[in-house]
Subunit: 405 residues, 2 copies
C-alpha cells in the first residue's frame, strides 16, 4: 500500500508546506461546495429510501453551513502549532551522551468511522498536520459524500506538495475489506475506530494493529451533601440538556441521601420542563413521585444520547464511586462538592471533574484545538486526542565516540 | 480475577509503603536464597534432561551472585522517583477551569517472558513501584524458579501492606491459558511480551488487549566517508563484540564505498581476531578477501545474537538508509559521520545514534533506572521502557460552577 511509503515522505514535509496545503484545502471545499452537496444528496436519497432514522439523516446531511464549518476547521488546524520535531525531553549523561526525545509522526493511521461526513475532512486535516498518512474508512451510508470530500481535498493537497498516497480512502464498502486491513500490521501503524460499541469491539477483537478505542460515554455527576445545590443544579442541567446526543453528556445523576429531599424535587421538575424523561431508583421515586419511571438494572449501563436520565440516591461518596466504577465507561465523571480528593483519586476515568459540567471533555475546550476523538483507553492517549496524541517519539543520541564498558 | 481489583487499591498506596516493601523484598530474596536456588536446580535438571542448549542453560541458572543482583535491582527500584501523581501538564482555561494532567498507573499488566528467572523479580519490582498489578507468565523451563521467586516476594509484599492480588503468577504452563488470558480485556489493561519473535507475533495476533511489543534488534552502524575512522572502529567493535547476545548489539555494518578500502581490511582483521565471523557483500569480499563468507539475502534480516556480523559496502548515506529501512527492525541504528541530520531524520528507529555505540539503548544508560524492556512499537512507549513508560494519565479538572455554552 502507498500509505506507509507516503508516511515516510510526509514525516519530512515542513510546517509551512503543510499549513499552505491545509489552507488551500479549506478554500477548495468552499469552491467545490456544490459538487460535495450534490454527492451528499445521493447519500440522503439512499438513506431516505432505506427509511433510516431522522437523527441519522440529520447527521448525514451536509448543508452549506456545515461545509463552511469543515473549511473553517481546516483553517484552524493550519493555525495550530506543529508538534513534529518538538524536543520533549533532553537528557545529558555523565559519559557525555546527549539524548533528545523528539516528537515524530506515528506513520500510517486507519480511521474507521460512521455517518457524519465532516469526520472525513477533520481526520484528513489532523493527520496531515501531525505528519501521518491517513486511510479513511467511513460508513457505507455516507460513501458518496466521503469520496467527494476526499477527492477535493486530496487533489488540492497534491497540488500543494503533499506526497501522493498520504491521504487515501477505502472505496469498497464491503466490511471484509476492513477485516483484511486489520491484519496488515507492516503497513498500518494505528487504528482509530469511532462509532458504535459493537463496531469498536469487533475491530479490537480482529486487529493485529494497535487500536485506540473511542467507546461510549456513560458519564455521571455525583451531588454530595456538601455541594452548593444551586451550582450543582446548573452543572447537572448543562451536562444533561445542553447537547444530549454527545459522548460527554451526563447519563446518570447520583445524589447523596443527605440532601436528596432538598435537591431532587425541584431538580427533577426542572429536567422535566426541559423534556427530560427520568428513570429513578426506588428512593428517587419515593421523593419525586410518580413522574419518575422505574429504573431497571440495565438502565445504569446506558448511554442514552437523548433526553433521558437515570437518577439514583446513594449513601455518600463511597457508594457513588462504587456505582461509577461498576456501571460507568471511564469517560468523564463529575462531583459537586466542597472537598473532592477521594472521588478524584478513586474514580478511574479519563476525565474527573469537580464543580464543572462533564460537557467540557473536548479537545478545543482543553485548549488542544481540534480533536480526532476521545480515547477511553489507558494506553498511549487518554481523553481528548488532538495533534500531540497523534504522535510518537524517537530518541536521537549524539556522541563523540562513546562505547559501552 | 483479583489482579484488576488489586490494581485499584495499589494505585492508592503511598510511595513510602511501596519503597519499604521493595526493600523488604530485596532482603527476603537474600534470606531465602537457598530455597530459590534449590527450586532452580529442579529446572536445571529438567533442562539438562531435555538437552537444552548451553546458552539457554546459562540464562536459566541462578547463581548466588545472580540472586544478589536481583535483590540489588529491587533496592535500586526503591530508590527511583515514584512517577505516580506527577502533574505532567497544567492547563488554565479562559473560563477559569484548571485542568491537571496527572500520572496514574495503567492497571493490571500481563508480562509474558522466557527463560531468565531474574525477569520475574525485575517485573514485580517495576510494576509495584509504578502502581500496577502484575500477572507473570514465564517460560515452562523456568517454572520452579519463577514460582519460588514469586512466593518469596509476594509473601513479603503482603507483609508490608501491598494489596493481596497485586502480584500473581500463572502456575499452569499450558500455552492455551495464555490465549485465554489475552481475551479478558475487561481484567487486563496491557500485555508486554518479551522473548522470541514467533511468540510475540502470536501474542499480538491473538490479543484483544493492547500489546507493547519488544521485538528483535537488527541494529546497524553506518560508517560514512566523513567519519573519523579510528573512532568508528572503536564504536563498531564495541557494538558487535562487547556483549553480542543482546538486542542492542550491532548485527550489520554498512560502509561507504569511498572509505571502504581504508576501513574494512583492518576492521575486519580486528573483528576476526576477536572471533567474529564475517558475512560480506561482493564488494566487501573483493576488498577483504576470502576470509569473508558470502552474505546471502536472508542474512541481512538476521539478529545473530552471536559473534557473527553482516557487512555491506554502500554508495553513501541514501543507500544506507534504504538498507536499514528495508532489513532493520527499527530498534537502534547508528551513523559515524561529521554531519548526520539526514540519517537521523530518515531512519525511523526507536533510537538513532551519531558517533556512539548502539549498545547504549538501555533504561539505565538513558538515566531511567531499571527497564522492563525495549519497545519496538510506536504506540505508547518506544525504546527503553522504565517506570514512566508503565504509566497512563488522567485529567483532573477543577471548576467553580462552569457550564458549557
Amino acid at each position: 500500500m502507498a500509505s506507509k511509503a507516503a508516511s515516510r515522505s510526509l514525516a519530512l514535509v515542513d510546517t509551512h508546506t503543510k499549513n499552505k496545503a491545509l489552507q488551500g484545502m479549506a478554500g477548495a471545499l468552499i469552491e467545490k461546495k456544490a459538487l460535495i452537496m450534490k454527492a451528499n444528496l445521493k447519500d440522503l436519497k439512499f438513506a431516505k429510501s432505506k427509511k433510516l432514522s431522522s437523527a441519522l439523516i440529520d447527521r448525514l446531511t451536509l448543508s452549506s453551513a456545515r461545509v463552511d464549518a469543515m473549511a473553517r476547521s481546516l483553517n484552524e488546524i493550519a493555525g495550530l502549532k506543529d508538534p513534529i520535531g518538538d524536543v520533549i525531553e533532553t537528557i545529558r549523561r555523565p559519559n557525555g551522551l546527549l539524548i533528545k526525545k523528539v516528537r515524530v509522526p506515528i506513520g500510517s493511521i486507519l480511521v474507521i468511522y460512521e455517518s457524519r461526513p465532516n469526520v472525513t475532512s477533520d481526520c484528513i486535516g489532523l493527520c496531515l498536520k501531525s505528519g501521518n498518512s491517513v486511510i479513511l474508512r467511513g460508513g457505507r451510508e455516507a460513501i458518496n459524500s466521503n469520496i467527494a470530500i476526499f477527492e477535493v481535498l486530496n487533489a488540492e493537497a497534491k497540488r500543494c506538495g503533499i506526497p501522493d498516497g498520504a491521504i487515501s480512502i477505502v472505496r469498497d464498502t464491503d466490511r471484509s475489506i476492513v477485516w483484511d486491513l486489520l491484519k496488515v500490521s507492516a503497513l498500518i501503524d494505528l487504528v482509530i475506530p469511532r462509532g458504535g460499541e459493537s463496531l469498536i469491539r469487533e475491530v479490537t477483537a480482529r486487529s493485529r494493529i494497535p487500536v485506540i478505542k473511542h467507546y461510549k460515554g456513560v458519564c455521571h455527576t455525583y451531588v454530595d451533601a456538601s455541594a452548593d445545590l444551586d451550582m450543582a443544579g446548573e452543572i447537572c442541567f448543562n451536562a444533561k440538556v445542553q447537547r444530549p446526543g454527545v459522548c460527554n453528556a451526563m447519563e446518570t445523576l447520583l445524589v447523596s441521601e443527605d440532601i436528596a429531599k432538598d435537591f431532587l424535587p425541584w431538580m427533577i421538575d426542572r429536567f422535566r420542563h426541559a423534556g427530560v424523561q427520568i428513570r429513578g431508583c426506588p428512593k428517587t421515586r419515593k421523593i419525586a413521585g410518580s413522574v419518575v419511571r422505574k429504573a431497571v438494572e440495565s438502565d445504569w449501563y446506558k448511554e442514552y444520547l437523548d433526553l433521558i436520565l437515570s437518577v439514583r440516591v446513594v449513601r455518600g461518596v463511597d457508594e457513588a464511586i462504587t456505582h461509577i466504577m461498576k456501571y460507568g465507561s471511564y469517560h468523564s465523571d463529575a462531583i459537586d462538592k466542597f472537598r473532592a480528593a477521594k472521588f478524584l483519586a478513586r474514580v478511574d476515568s479519563a476525565c474527573v471533574y469537580v464543580n464543572a459540567s462533564t460537557r467540557f471533555t473536548d479537545g478545543s475546550e482543553f485548549g488542544k484545538g481540534a480533536e480526532i476523538g476521545v480515547s477511553t483507553d489507558k494506553i498511549h492517549a487518554r481523553g481528548p486526542m488532538g495533534l500531540e496524541e497523534l504522535t510518537s517519539y524517537k530518541y536521537v543520541i549524539y556522541g563523540n565516540g562513546q562505547v559501552r564498558r
